[in-house]
Amino acid sequence: MREFLHQLLSGLASGAVYASVAVALVTVYKTTHHVNFAQGEMAMFSTYLSWMLISAGLPYWAAFLVTLALSFAGGLLIHRLIVQRVANQPVLTVVIVLIGLVVIFNSLAAWIFGSSIRAFPSPFPASAWYGSVFLSPHEVGMIGVTFVALALVFAFFRYTHLGLAMRAAAENPTSSRLVGIRVDWMLALGWGLAAIFGAVAGMMAAPLVYLEPNMMSGVILYGFAGALLGGIENPWGAVIGGFAVGVLENLAGAYVVGTEIKLAVALVIIITVLVFRPTGLFGRRVVARV
């Protein structure tokens, strides 16, 4: 029973990372109807940036915030300069552009920072009052930071005018233009926000998976699965989906198959869910008018 609880809670901790990535993917999908396959690599790059800032002497949380700001700007620019140019092309064309970005980021990171595996600091001490035998202080902290980020973004969308404009642009771009909203910039902002979530995921995961160019390649798939499980247009679904995937992965690994093919097992479970509920657990069925 203790063991089960441990695996469950541990799953929640990794689930926090997947939830962050899932929210990033849903943010981009809601605004642009594309899945940003490059989200993981962008997050990895952000994490390297934060590592550089910390190595240069900046205190952790200062580096954290600066990284978020830089990631936001980066996401925005990438959308405006590259993704925007193929925005009206068939979806597979955009997919190839995103694949191109994945390869570029991965290669640049290896070239600039080297492929060696590095340790990454955690802002949470090794032992603290909020840690326990089930969850390390870092894991608790991870979950906490994720929730703070989610709450802030939720408040942004709900209570600010810019958040409202972004929601409008996602729901109905044509009507948004008719009230003077610059829809292209709203899309770019969506990318910027998604990049922030990716950066949070990367910096929270790095102390556990270590900093190296391929650190996010497993995470992105789980994040994607979590986003779909929750329903690709639903940010709350993404959160729940991400945590669910984390728990599922851990339990499958511990009780069913061992670590080698726990990935495959977790995905099989998710796909089975999708076959029975094709729009995800919390997705809305879109009724097509013929």
Binding site: A168, S175, R177, L178, V179, G180, I181
Partner: protein
């Protein structure tokens, strides 16, 4: 006085097919102009061409003398053109108040805007926190117009505001449109299938048939024309 809107020899359509052929049209500042015609005549396409929502292949479109063809839709809107489209275009998952707030996206004078909007449409005030998608047809039309008015436009484009609405509601809406024109000086370009109603408040009318202007002139003259009366006024 420069007309608030002028279309000169405009050809436009969707993709490679041309719907409008050599359209000449003008709206004098402060006037109400109506665009009449049967289904498929090109009335909606004309409004969309003004906002650059279709492919324009030839001609010029001027707003108060300045060319606006080729500009991004949202930039044209920011110059003071409000378009209440076919189907209303409300943000269905957002509340009435949020819809109105978005109408003031450019001006940001929310408090004044709300006062004015609720002044014209008290029904909306009652429903301000309701989700727009759950409003009745008439209320959605009111919301669409109110949202357009939030921006205090120089030119208001309306695409079939009476469509699918009960006569009493339509009467209310047209009364309000006339008031807005009179009190705020907003010019109106009104597309309507209900020719009687439109000719009632308009000063000028244009008649479209298969993408061409076949008749134009003062509203009273068009209303008195025998062929128009037979074809469009059911007389």
């Amino acid at each position: 006085m420069t007309p608030i809107l002028e279309l000169a020899a405009v050809h436009a359509g969707y993709g490679p097919t041309s719907v409008l052929h050599a359209i000449d049209l003008r709206v004098e500042a402060g006037a109400i102009v109506t665009l009449l015609g049967a289904n498929g005549a090109g009335k909606t396409t004309t409004l969309r061409a003004v906002c650059n929502m279709v492919v324009k292949t030839r001609g010029e479109i001027r707003l108060a003398g300045e060319r606006i063809d080729g500009m991004a839709t949202e930039s044209i809107v920011r110059l003071g053109v409000a378009h209440v489209p076919e189907g209303r275009g409300t943000f269905e998952s957002l509340t009435v108040e949020e819809n109105l707030r978005l109408g003031a996206h450019v001006r940001r004078d929310f408090a004044e805007g709300f006062d004015r909007a609720y002044g014209y449409f008290p029904r909306l005030a009652e429903r301000r926190r309701q989700q727009a998608g759950t409003l009745s047809g008439g209320e959605q039309q009111m919301l669409a117009i109110a949202r357009a008015l939030m921006m205090r436009p120089r030119l208001l484009l309306l695409d079939e505001p009476s469509f699918g609405l009960a006569p009493k509601i339509v009467e209310d809406i047209f009364r309000i449109l006339a008031a807005v024109n009179r009190d705020e000086g907003t010019s109106l370009l009104l597309v309507e299938q209900n020719a009687n109603l439109a000719l009632g408040i308009a000063s000028q009318a244009f008649l479209l048939e298969t993408g061409r202007v076949v008749m134009s002139g003062p509203a009273s003259q068009i209303a008195g024309d025998a062929s128009v009366r037979r074809a469009y006024l059911g007389l």
